[in-house]
Amino acid sequence: MPTDPVIEVAGVTKTFAGVRALGDVDFALQRGEIHALVGENGAGKSTLIKVLTGIHTPDAGAITRNGHISTIYQEVNLVPLMSVSANLFLGREPRNRFGLIDRARRDADAAELLRGYGITADVSSPLGTLAVGEQQMVALARAVAADADVVIMDEPTSSLEPREVETLLGVVRKLHEAGIAIIYVSHRMDELYRICDTVTVLRDGVNVHSGPLKELPRIELVSLMLGRSVKEIEKHGTTAFGEGHHADTQPVLEARDLTSKPRIGGVSASIRPGEVVGLAGLLGSGRTETAKAIIGALPLDGGTVLVAGKPVAHNVKASMKAGISMLAEDRKTEGIIPNLSVRENIVLAALPRLSKFGVTSRSRQDRIVDTFIERLRIKVSSPEQKVAELSGGNQQKVLLARWLCTEPKILLLDEPTRGIDVGAKAEVQALIDELAREGLAVLLISSELDELLDGADRLVVLRDGSVAGELEGDQLTREHVLAAIAAEVMDDSDDHAGSHQDSH
């Protein structure tokens, strides 16, 4: 193998307060390659990246960098209150001849640059007003525009829609053609096999494998990540959902004509106990907004929500009291309380139920928390660890646990397996399945079509904020869904990607 490393790491060790995140890791990134970095949640991927970029100082080991590195960190790492264009050019603003920032040019350049990524939002509005996926694209544009020799992407697609993923992969290919080396972290196997040349597998902070990716069968890669034998993994399928559910005939949740301009207009849907209803649609089709409207977190211009036939007042508190819980899409800003412990974060929403006269039973709390830590395989040093110290994927598991332990009647899940590793993903899917079997009504939003098709008994397809169709039984196939979502755009998601990217 020719070696011309742009980044080389030898014997790097990093511990956080006694917990080993990286142990004696060797790693080399060759010039011009796309290098996949994989491993379970908490395996040390993000930590390795932060060591590479100098954010973390390793306890031991040597790092050699032969070029300029530009990074998209796992957390969408921009400033929500600043304008889109200010974020894009922070640190390298265009100047006028007096040395002052040329705001007009900055906005113009930003708009121009972002158009190439399919973003047409007003660049002078605060970044935080954009959807999470769009923010991620801004982060991508920023990293790519920085003229680097190495671009590192830590789970860049975890908050992207299929269409945006294609745009991103197109960008990755262009960088590759320009001879830029890339480190690519993702839990999505498809993406890895489509674009990466080499792979490094981390397990519990140790490099257990480095080598070419193409020759490594998928199942072996998973087995390396999880540290379990290939046989054991073969027993489970790709998703862990069971067969269809036995649903009651009377809907427990009915949403009628939910309207909130301009995002959704007249969405109706119903879910019966024991049923999993999937919401399908493109970015901006109003899926998240529909879920938010149901739980009362989105101001409505019209429409009603009924639980067991009774109308529910339009606010989160009343909805929760009626038995609705929601796992929000944007976990970072909408849920995690970084400075509280894992235990406190999990039981937070269930506290009213766990307490009598305002006193909570600690032993009951501990029991619930232990169960979820085990089932979801949340990697913590103890339940009392601060959530902020967990890896990205493990933080998401904590949030999922929070809503599951409220024992709701109706559970709204917005991208429940986003950013979660293969092992735990199956576990989450099995759990959703089990809950539905026990009579829970579930609304499932996912941009992974397979997850929707396998997990849902029925699909409600949204387009431009209204219902474009409902699919059931035999109609639950890729083709039907794609046709219903938006035929022309989705055409290329199966065949070779990036083709529509070039047409910009």
């Binding site: 954010i55 400033v79 209150l81 600043m82 603003e93 935080g128 989160v316 929601m326 944007d330 909408e334």
Partner: protein, 318 residues
């Protein structure tokens, strides 16, 4: 929990700043109609002059608050700056001006270094320097018994008392600084770093923003400006008065926040701050117009007025 507060705030804060401007205009119109003397040129000049010292301090405070910090030391530094200027004036104009700037700037620098390097809370660090500066002030003035006078014919007094068309020099100093401040905030990398630091500190670090350096700079700036405001006041009063500036930090924080700057950082404007100063000074001026009010009740009325303004802003936002 489910909503995104940052974004809604971002939108409403712009409105809130306009709200402050609307409140100011309303206040001025009502005062004008109620008290004929309010609109007299003399009164307006006086109003602007009184406001100019606070503007100078509040500009620094705006920068600090946008980074997500707070500077409680400015009231003490203001008084210290005045005394140092008065003492320095015996060695000439330059000494009178630079001494307070340097000393107060260094105290601000120390504030900034402690906050940025040791991660101590700005509240605690600047509370300590509030006490430190007040103590230093009392020490160099024999517990305040010794008031340094500035010779009336010195050039330094001119800086405080000189006028153009009857408008005092400090007004022009404040105006120039406000324009400069706005420019620095919006049109320089340092300004962008200030917003990024307060908007999302962790992200700012990952984006390569020199967060520590930015913090050190804003506290140094705040200290220096407080010293300058003290020097201008001393020049105007022709002496270094030791008892002034108590609680002034709260006025400065109040005007910044009334002006629409987020107390949690990440968003704010100098213009808003200037409008905030305008509001607070108009309110005080009106109370003086009434004249018969017991001085203790003046703060009560002033507090009630501020509350009304804030409530008005809330209503205007809808």
């Amino acid at each position: 929990m489910i909503t995104t507060p940052t974004v809604t705030n971002a939108r409403t804060k712009v409105l809130q700043r306009q709200g402050a401007a609307v409140a100011l205009v309303l206040m001025v119109v009502v005062s004008w109609l109620t008290f004929p003397r309010f609109g007299s040129l003399d009164n307006l000049r006086d109003l602007a002059l009184q406001g100019s010292f606070l503007v100078v301090i509040a500009i620094g405070m705006t920068f600090v608050i946008i980074t997500g910090g707070i500077d409680l030391s400015v009231g003490s530094l203001y008084a210290l700056g005045g005394v140092l200027a008065a003492w320095g004036s015996q060695y000439g104009f330059l000494a009178a001006l630079t001494l307070p700037l340097v000393v107060c700037g260094v105290i601000g620098l120390v504030n900034g270094l402690l906050i940025a390097r040791t991660n101590m809370a700005p509240f605690i660090v600047t509370l300590a320097s509030l006490l430190f500066a007040r103590g230093l002030l009392l020490a160099i003035t024999d517990e305040g018994a010794n008031t340094y006078q500035i010779p009336g014919d010195s050039a330094f007094v001119e800086l405080g008392r000189g006028t153009v068309f009857g408008f005092g020099y400090p007004i022009f100093v404040a105006a120039v600084l406000a324009v400069l401040g706005g420019m620095i905030l919006n049109r320089t990398s340092f300004g962008q770093n200030v917003f990024a630091t307060g908007g999302a500190e962790q992200s700012a670090v990952l984006l390569g923003v020199p967060v520590a350096k930015t913090k050190v700079l804003v506290y140094t700036m705040s200290g220096t400006l407080a010293g300058l405001a003290g020097a201008l006041t001393a020049a105007y009063l022709q002496s270094g008065v030791t008892v002034i500036g108590v609680g002034l930090e709260l006025d400065a924080i109040a005007v910044v926040v009334i002006g629409g700057t987020l107390l949690t950082g990440g968003m704010g404007t100098i213009l808003g701050t200037v409008i905030g100063v305008g509001l607070i000074k108009v309110i005080q001026n009106v109370i003086n117009q009434i004249g018969t009010l017991d001085s203790n009740y003046q703060s009560v009325v002033s507090g009630v007025f501020l509350l009304i303004v804030v409530v008005l802003q809330r209503i205007l936002r809808r």
